[in-house]
């Protein structure tokens, strides 16, 4: 295989269009005569609906329709439970429109469809609503206690799921241990906050009986399957298009949000296109959130710091409903031992209902929480044993000769036991140490103290299971006449640069430039076998599927070219969009090859002449299309991973704390990461840096503040603090490339990598910084000024 583009920092194909403002996000798509939807949302967290009166809303000028649960026919039923699991006894999902009860502030109660969004909001405000409020318990730890108000009357103690996993003999390990460290940590709730909120538009063509839905989703094929099933239409008659999408980060992979069902329904009923463009307030009140977990973690260690056992018991806040099952908790629980040997593990979780927005995966999907628990515990163990934080990790890392390293009894999201396949953990750690360049950190700390500033060093390691199945596909067609290469796969992109990285893979096989490879994805009409973009899987699964397909297409090109040039296949090389006879100037263009591969009767242009039966080059021995041969240069193939492939990394930082102002600045941030072979290092770095910024958000800024009565007090970007450029430091990203042994391209996923370790690094650094002031432990993120002030007060400052 000739490799010219794989591994190169190729600029993205899609950028000129986006830079010129020519992107087409859902709300940019001009739908003639469209109506617009707005929702009435619950103002209370728990309540019984006594009365809904939509008559004033219906009568408001400009309103086309108002729907409550009573107006949506068969849609009035709980929405699908996407990932069933035996740990869930009585899983609850929400109805598109609340029927008799509401379960969180923001839950959809009625949908108004009107001539524009302004009018729709006017009308929604006219809906009369009487709700009997019910008591709520917002504190997850209290919500599981006997007597706490129940979110769902038939779910005792608000426990949505309970699951225990054991690997090895944890009881035995704890009995043998020289030392046991035990801490409790907490990560607070956040949300993906993509710059484009969610959006759905639907158009029903009553002549052809086809429903077209534009949806800013990460899962167009899965959405299509669901819509076809729910509306009882053939899948062929439902087309879902994810056009340009402004960021997803997991929030847009959930199906269904109420609007994803109600908007198509309204379009079909009203006979006009309907658009729902979620606004920012609604994104906070209705679109998925994640992160809240409380872990009590214990490490059983030898005197010399080898961790021989781990116990972790955690509460996971799943919100008021659990449509995505236990995915986040499952990923957290199976990532809990990180890159360390720890052969004996007991991990238990309870997924807890709280009367809040439902929790479904947000970038990291539980790994940040697990990493936070483990790494804070490792720091504490190091302190208690008097061992350096770097050293204790070195002593516990799985070494290269121990791969593949299995954790029997921990079943990852792929349904298989956790098996770490490859990596160079120790090398990553030592690289991090070198990059920090702190030859005399103690001296720097002293200098800073003179100015009232405190410097600290933070460190954390992580692993990331990536490349989940079940499969993805690739379809490649070289077009006759033009020779342009079209590629399809069953994903959609929200900024990850699929159009370029997949083009690089194809370009290498076909001898073209990535700019001549056109990726069309996100449209079920273009390709409709596949799953979705999530869980750091696109490069691994679609990448390998496209690679396999490209290898097949390459074979077809070589075969056809060998015929046309009358040489052996071995004498042909592909480059510059043509097939060349090696060591000569004889060549035939890809366009000509593709044209010749499709025998024509009619020559509609000069290039087509070459493919007609009367052209000089046409062969006459046997039929124009040989038995078993298909016209054109085209292939489809699939890749289904045998198991997840595990990426990893080490993050370290120097932080500066100003205790007087309770302010934290990150002075230096180092990221060593390894996602195997990198298709495009620039895009990989972009993914990592973006993840780190979200991680910093979760460490210092972003928290959804629910008040005791269940109201979300900061449902705006004014008060939910997504960091600006001034809050994010420059970061050094270094790559290690340990190829994955599990797939032909040797790649691992990287989409979520950046955010996993940041909370632990920052807490670790701030704790280190404040050490001279007293015994201050920071086990709760995000760190707020109040937390720091309280911590200082606790040591008498």
């Amino acid at each position: 295989m000739s490799t010219r583009y794989f591994g190169q920092r190729v600029e993205r194909n899609i950028d000129p269009k986006l830079l010129r403002g020519e992107g087409a996000y859902v709300d940019d798509i001009p739908l003639t005569n469209a109506l617009h939807a707005a929702f009435l949302r619950s103002p209370v967290a728990r309540g019984r609906i006594k009365r809904i009166d939509v008559s004033a809303a219906r009568a408001y000028p400009g309103v086309a329709a108002v729907y409550t649960y009573a107006d949506i026919g068969a849609l009035d039923r709980p929405m699908p439970l996407l990932i069933p699991h035996p740990s869930m006894k009585n899983p609850k999902t929400q109805r598109p429109l609340a029927r008799s009860e509401v379960f969180y502030v923001g839950q959809t109660i009625a949908m108004v469809v009107a001539v524009d969004r302004y009018v729709a909001e006017d009308a929604a405000a006219l809906i009369e609503l009487e709700i009997d409020q019910l008591p709520v318990e917002m504190d997850m730890a209290k919500a599981v206690a006997d007597g706490a108000p129940l979110v769902h009357a038939d779910v005792p103690n608000n426990i949505a799921a309970e699951f225990v996993q054991t690997s090895g003999d944890p009881d035995g390990a704890f009995a043998l241990a020289d030392h046991i460290t035990r801490i409790t940590v907490q990560v607070d709730r956040s949300t993906a906050a993509p710059m484009e909120c969610r959006a759905v538009a639907a158009r029903w063509d009553e002549i052809s009986g086809e429903l077209t839905v534009w949806d800013g989703t990460q899962a167009p094929i899965s959405v299509r399957g669901g819509l076809a099933s729910i509306f009882e239409l053939d899948e062929d008659k439902v087309r879902v298009i994810a056009p340009d999408v402004g960021g997803g980060f997991g929030q847009k992979v959930l199906l269904f949000y109420p609007d994803e069902l109600l908007v198509p329904m309204a379009a079909m009923q009203l006979g006009r296109p309907v658009k729902y463009i979620e606004d920012r307030r609604e994104n906070f009140l209705g679109s998925s959130q994640e992160r809240t977990q409380i872990h009590t973690i214990e490490l059983a260690a030898t005197r010399t710091g080898e961790v021989i056992g781990l116990r972790d018991s955690f509460l996971h806040d799943t919100g008021a409903f659990i449509p995505y099952g236990i995915a986040v908790a499952q990923v957290a629980s199976t990532s809990i031992a990180g890159p360390y040997r720890i052969p004996n593990i007991w991990v238990e979780f309870k997924a807890v209902y709280t009367p809040t927005v439902q929790v479904t995966p947000y970038r990291g999907c539980g790994r940040p929480q697990a990493c936070f628990a483990l790494e804070r515990a490792m720091d504490q163990l190091a302190e208690e044993l008097g061992i350096d934080r770097f050293e204790i990790r070195r002593r516990n890392f799985i070494t290269e000769k121990e791969f593949p390293y299995e954790r029997a009894g921990l079943l990852f999201a792929d349904g298989l036991k956790v098996t770490l396949d490859s990596g160079q953990y120790a090398k990553a750690l030592s690289l991090a140490a070198t990059q920090l360049e702190m030859t005399d950190f103690a001296a720097e700390q002293e200098k800073a103290r003179a100015d009232g500033k405190y410097l600290g060093l933070g460190l954390a390691c992580y692993v990331e299971g990536t490349g989940l199945g079940p499969y993805e596909g690739g379809h490649i067609r070289v077009h006759p006449i033009t020779g342009k290469v079209y590629v399809n796969t069953g994903l959609s992109t929200q900024g990850q640069g699929h159009d370029t990285v997949f083009a690089q893979i194809v370009a290498d096989q076909l001898g073209v430039s990535p700019q001549d490879v056109i990726l069309v994805e996100g449209d079920t009409k273009a390709f409709d076998w596949g799953v979705a973009t999530f869980a750091s899987r696109a490069a691994v699964v679609s990448g390998n599927a496209i690679h396999k397909t490209a290898v097949t297409v390459r074979g077809k090109i070589l075969h056809a070219a060998a015929n046309m040039l009358e040489v052996d296949i071995g004498d042909i090389e592909l480059r510059d969009s043509a097939a060349w006879v090696k060591n000569s100037n004889r060549h035939v263009s890809l366009a000509a090859i593709a044209t010749a591969s499709n025998p024509l009767r009619y020559a509609f242009n000069e290039a087509a002449q070459a493919a007609t039966q009367f052209a000089p080059a046409s062969k006459h021995d046997g039929p124009p299309l040989a038995e078993g041969q298909a016209p054109g240069i085209e292939a489809t193939d699939y890749y289904s991973p045998s198991q997840s492939t595990w990426a990893y990394g080490v993050h370290a930082a120097i932080v500066e704390v100003d205790p007087a102002l309770c302010a934290v600045k990150i002075r230096k941030y180092i990221c060593i990461h390894d996602c195997g072979n990198m298709i495009n290092p620039t895009i990989v770095e972009g993914q990592v840096m973006g993840g780190i910024a979200q991680g910093i958000g979760g460490a210092l800024y972003e928290r959804l503040d629910y008040l005791p009565d269940g109201t979300l007090s900061n449902a705006s970007l004014m008060d939910f603090l997504v960091p600006y450029a001034t809050e994010i430091p420059p970061v050094s990203v270094l790559h290690l490339e340990t190829p994955s042994p599990l797939n032909p391209l040797g790649i691992k996923g990287v989409g979520e990598a950046g955010c996993i370790a940041v909370g632990a690094v920052v807490a670790s650094g701030v704790e280190d910084a404040l050490r001279p002031l007293g015994d201050i432990k920071l086990r709760h993120v995000p760190l707020t000024p109040r937390m720091l002030s309280d911590a200082l007060e606790s040591v008498g400052l």
Partner: protein
């Protein structure tokens, strides 16, 4: 998040404008819109009419007149920030303005608008209270001048009557030889202040504090002059013990209650630190030396 419906009016003269306000108790003045429009988009503000004063004669321009900077109602934050004369006669104004939101907001939002909005965490109201500025209010009945300390009443509330439009704000220039400083604690750059402090002081020949003014934002339901802290510094040589007293005296001025992210204790701590640092900075400027 679309605004509710309103009547839109674009008067050409101030008399027309105040008459419109007088005629409709639920009408609101629209100047830069950077505070009003977000509130309307969230539908927490629901005025029956907007009286857009951007075309009203006589509301443009900045001038310096008899020891005062005169800022007309339609002067945008950014205009004031970039004014070289203002930079010369009162650099504290420019230093404070750089903390107001972000440049695109400052390009449209007006100084007078910010004063009338009276957010207790905002920088401009603090500046006016610190420097002892005034505003000129025009109503159908005539004109009156309101001192800063009489203007800010409570959270988002001023003593402007419904039928009054503030046509200009006036700030004193800094006295010759005065030292000055402003800073604030925010979580993100450009946010409203969690705690903000401004300081102006003058030193006498022997280096003692001749005059000192301290004002804070973000600590109460309006900007606050820290008079007790000023008294603790008055006439002193700014020794550590003097600063300690000033810090102690400031604690009771913090009344903003605890919330999930901040606390009274945090604000007191931060306010104390700002007092020490900014008094030192102002004093260094008064002595004509920038701090190291």
């Amino acid at each position: 998040m679309k605004p509710p419906l309103f009547d839109y009016k674009a008067p050409a003269t101030i008399d027309e404008a105040v008459a419109m306000l007088a005629a409709d108790p639920d009408a609101a003045v629209l100047a830069g819109g950077q505070s009003l429009l977000p509130a309307m988009n969230f539908r927490v503000a629901n005025p029956s009419a907007l009286v857009d004063i951007q075309h009203v004669q006589g509301l443009q321009g900045i001038s310096v007149d008899g020891g005062e900077i005169v800022i007309k109602a339609m002067v945008r934050h950014r205009e004031l920030e970039l004014d070289v004369v203002v930079q010369r006669v009162n650099p504290l104004v420019v230093e404070t303005l750089q903390h107001v939101a972000h440049v695109p907001i400052r390009n449209r939002g007006t100084v007078v608008g910010s004063l009338c909005h009276a957010d207790p965490s905002a920088e401009m109201p603090l500046l006016f209270v610190l420097l002892g500025g005034t505003v000129v209010a025009r109503s159908p009945a005539g004109t009156r001048t309101i001192a800063a300390e009489d203007f800010f009443k409570a959270f988002l509330t001023t003593t402007r009557a419904h039928d009054e439009i503030i046509t200009e704000a006036r700030l004193p220039v800094l006295p010759e030889g005065a030292g000055w400083a402003f800073d604030e604690v925010t979580r993100r750059h450009g946010d409203y202040a969690l705690v903000g402090l401004g300081c102006v002081l003058a030193l006498s020949g022997d280096g003692k504090v001749e005059t000192v003014r301290l004002a804070a934002c973000g600590i109460a339901d309006k900007p606050v002059r820290l008079k007790a802290s000023e008294a603790a510094l008055q006439g002193t040589g700014l020794a550590p013990a003097d600063l300690d007293k000033a810090v102690e005296a400031s604690a009771s001025a913090v009344t903003t209650p605890d919330d999930m992210n901040t606390s009274v204790a945090f604000r007191r701590r931060a306010l104390g630190a700002l007092i020490r640092r900014l008094v030192a900075k102002a004093a260094a400027r008064a002595r004509n030396k920038e701090p190291a």
